[in-house]
Amino acid sequence: MRHRISKGTLTQLLPFMVGLLMVQTGLYAQGAGGRQGGPPPTPKAAAPIDLTGYWVSVVTEDWRYRMVMPLAGDYQGVPMTPAARKVADTWDLEKEKASPDQCKSFGAPSLLRVPGRLHITWQDDQTLRMDTDAGKQTRVFHFGNWQAPAGPATLQGDSVAQWELPRPGDPRQPPPPPDPNAPPPTHGSLKVTTTHLKGGYLRKNGVPYSDNANLMEYYDLLREHNGDLWMVVTTVTTDPMYLREPFMVSTHFKKQPSDAGWNPTACSATW
């Protein structure tokens, strides 16, 4: 027996289906926070997650490479090329102590591995700023069509940022009503690409990265049932000269309610 949709049913369904098609198209066209016909929201307004505030390193991994000076020649885990090994094997503790450049291990590829605190703020609507107390370093993440100024490579390089949003949900499901008491959402990530880096050390014992290194990072937030808020940063360093494959680590930070413990200290090549 053939089943037919009656004309009456079809007439009732058609506006719904057309409306559904319009809503679906609208969702895909709409950026986060955007309104059809208005200017796009600024990166600050469009931020799907709030990274601002104070964060503290919680060092549960690579402890002896981060909390203390690692042994000379201890390169466990780093996928070094022979050229990198050759450079690292010439590293000398006394020479590093005497060097005028104490900040080689505080460059962007290794900065977040140095135990300390981060302070993240919006420098302006297009620019996120990260200050570290360890080494008193500043990283600046530029959104939008920012062009790096000409000039020499720097320790922190040039960073371009973009928000990564979770994919749209099913429009058949109504969005949940906003809850003013709900904690801020943790959906979405920050992606940062950093280039134009001055060579430095991935580890204090001289494991090098070159001027050709690039960095890609993802910043994610995770909220635990006990209220802890974690920021997990996945870092991928590529360096055709000194790394035989991308060097990939993930570093975690816990949100702090205040600046307690903030302790700016100068770079140290040996501590």
Binding site: I5, L10, M67, M69, V78, H187
Partner: protein
Amino acid sequence: MTPNKLGLNLAMLLAVGLPALAQVDLSGSWASKNHEDAMERGAGPNPVDWAGLPLNEFGRAKALAFSQSTISMPERICWFQTQWHIAAGPFNLKMWNETDPLTGKTIAWVVGGWETRAPMTIWMDGRPRPSKNAPHDQTGFTLGSWDGDVLTAVTTHMKTGYMRRNGAAMSDQATMTTHFIRHGSMLTVAAVLEDPVYLTEPYILTRSYTESPTLLDSAGPPCIPGDEGVEEGRVPHYLPGKNPFLDEMNKVYGIPQEAAMGGSQTMYPEFRDKIKDKVANPGKCKRNCGN
């Protein structure tokens, strides 16, 4: 075309165009990038190295009593690793979803097992967690939920196991929360262990994986019991105050005992100020130097 056919075609067109629920596909073979904690995860940690572990005094006492020979006892030869081994071990991950045969919807995600770790089945279908008095087993019991594009899995009902393969134990009261975060062909796994028996605060590890074109097995190879040299009836251990390796980290790395003994203070940056004057000149690496 008749109006009915037009309506049907339009309905089909819309149905195809509707986006899926906000769920990321985590399935695949994920290669572990053991670029951090390479030694601890692979060949294994040094004895009496609990720096960065928030052990309480009971956790520390238990760890100090542990002899590595324990897991060569006939009864413990194939002592299972708990799900914590996903973060503490070096192995790749094979993940897939199990679906309802009628609706096709995902009812569970599975992280395949390996050797002595059972698969982790992450139930997504809203089933209740068993009573806290229910028996514990090798798989534990895991419920999952999506937080945006992040899969969060909470595991309870695990058996006793280890946090680190040098005696730092985890109890059967532990809860493990695992977050799976995918960015393109990269997967970051953040695992948080809470243990009211042995830890003072949550212990977190974060690991990185990349999508692998090489098909991974979903389990195995199985552990086979055998004679590892510890005879039946002997229980290797160290009595209180008798662990002979208290000074190992100091001898090898210049790291003072108060760091090696662990505790939550060893996780935070200010601990460096406490030990700065006690850290010996590290010297040159003589073993497990990598590359």
